[in-house]
Symmetry: C2
Subunit: 338 residues, 2 copies
């Protein structure tokens, strides 16, 4: 039974099978604001437990786990934040992104992954697909609220790639705006831009809150309704399609891009943000793994390769397409013109 070569070990199997435990530990730490409590100066399990209204035994085991996972350091019996945890996991930091667990590990997403075997069998999700297309679903409100902080760096990078003169008057459409951050970052960079956020009515509440927060509420307009059905109007200099296409199959994407083309002004640009794996579909890891998220969460979505995306754009009347890395963020930007 142990005759296998010493370098063939079940370690990867064990690590992967128990990986869900790591996600759960991180979620518990975010839920209980453990990182924030440590950032505030609590350093022993007893102090952190008292600040977090939790049991010392529970906090000791959780903080040891967080140390093993690389989120904390431990010296004697005192815990401290790593630089990354101080930047991203302490609620008092401007870069706090802990709220993303509420969506990424939320009930809808989890249900899709709990049912992954059936999604593989059927070629798509049957449990989350409908929820993700329900205009009254709380899912995208949750998404909008919890994911906004994680989107900032990407949204800023996208705004920097628009390439129009800084003072130009721009009419900007942000499709499935959600948290609104992509359009809002364009609004921040282009003081004479008018931003139109299109999304379901419920979700636009969050976009409007964010527009207010970033001081561009007077230039922020909303178009409520289903992105496939609602009237976008026309004459947009910039149309943002951030993290939208991957939810749909290729024919649906193409049809949608024709609608986008019809809304674009002469000389206008479409800026699409996507997880784009290489043609081998197994690199780089974050983009390649994103296909699985779409398998678990949608009936027919995918992480498309650049040739696949370019074909969709060409079929929809965009002759010129350019792909831009947004390193260190995992997503790519595709800039398309007619």
């Amino acid at each position: 039974m142990t005759q296998h070569a010493p370098d063939v070990t079940p370690e990867l199997f064990w690590d992967t099978m128990t990986a869900f435990q790591r996600s759960a530990a991180l979620k518990a730490a975010v839920d209980l604001e453990i990182f924030t409590k440590i950032g505030e100066g609590n350093s022993t399990a007893a102090e952190i437990a008292s600040a977090a209204s939790a049991a010392e035994r529970g906090v000791r085991i959780l903080c040891d786990t967080l140390t093993v996972m690389g989120f904390l350091t431990k010296t004697g019996s005192t815990y401290a934040l790593t630089d990354a945890s101080a930047a991203f996991m302490d609620k008092r930091s401007q870069m706090y992104i802990g709220s993303a667990v509420d969506f990424i590990m939320g009930p809808q997403q989890r249900r899709g992954f709990d049912d992954l075997t059936n999604a593989v069998k059927n070629g798509g999700s049957s449990v989350t697909g409908e929820a993700s297309m329900d205009p009254e679903s709380e899912m995208w409100v949750e998404f909008a609220r919890s994911m906004a902080p994680l989107m900032f760096p990407t949204a800023q990078a996208v705004a920097e790639h628009i390439g129009f003169g800084a003072d130009r008057e721009l009419k900007v459409l942000d499709i499935a705006a959600g948290h609104g951050i992509y359009g809002i970052m364009v609004g921040k960079r282009y003081p004479n831009a008018q931003i139109y956020g299109a999304d379901w009515n419920k979700v636009l509440t969050v976009a409007k809150e964010n527009a207010e927060k970033f001081g561009i509420a007077d230039r922020y307009h909303t178009i409520a309704g289903d992105a496939f059905e609602s009237d976008f109007s026309t004459g947009y200099d910039v149309i943002l399609v951030p993290n939208f296409l991957h939810h749909f199959d290729a024919p649906t994407c193409e049809k949608f891009l024709r609608k986008v083309n019809g809304a674009l002004a002469d000389g206008g640009k479409v800026l699409t943000v996507e997880f784009v794996p290489n043609d081998d579909r197994v690199s780089p890891p974050p983009s390649a793994m994103f296909s699985l998220v779409m398998l678990a969460a949608t009936p027919g979505g995918d992480a498309y390769t650049y040739p696949e995306l370019r074909q969709m754009f060409e079929n929809a009347g965009f002759a010129n397409n350019e792909i831009i890395e947004l390193h260190p963020m995992p997503q790519h930007l595709i800039v398309s013109t007619r």
Copy 2:
């Protein structure tokens, strides 16, 4: 928002938050016997899908994910097993351990981790604790059936450390035998040993099946009942306590070890298998992380350090204790005598 040093990235946060997706992908692959189908010669997504009665799109995305995770290789559009996957994940291999997902990712375990925030708050699990102590629970039957293959190397290593003469007549007690593998491996190594497996009646069915399978059924006896309540009888030369103590708090362990002491013959040895973290409690990773499993799954269990375990044994009348690494397996063996 992007003013942080370039080496401070949210990568660890992202990887950990999405780690549960990796577990789900592996479980789907085991459920659908993807590794076995590839081992049998199916290599494209279409071939594997047909063999596994699943959708090609689902299988393509799953196999790409398994490639990213390191379980498969991909050349063009054909997939192949790695050496480790061929050894451990193909059902036709003698070393197949894929069934472990049925317990490690089973409903009881998952429920504990879904409720981890409350377990940290309360200092112990309230959702799985009772199930794990219910004699009629299917949980330990599932454990016994699914975890046996993963236990072979450890059980063989333990048998090798008993250190009595090969022909000696031994009376061996295997506590909470479950799958029975620990006792059975001793029975295989000591042809004149009589093995007594103690566990709940339902679970002993699995131990008896395994004793039959390994050809020692004529020397395999069972003691049905709760390990804390049932009469073990006395005069054992070897008492095995494999992966048992971590479910309980220290006073309960001590009380139990006194009972074990009472069942041991003069010159007898107690062999205990445990995940034993170093005194810092944050290394090595597999043992240190095991505390979290006990927090999620039990009201008061833990991964105890060696000083903690030694103290329990000394208090229970075992003056001599020795700890032995079972490398490359993560567990330790503790050999105790009076």
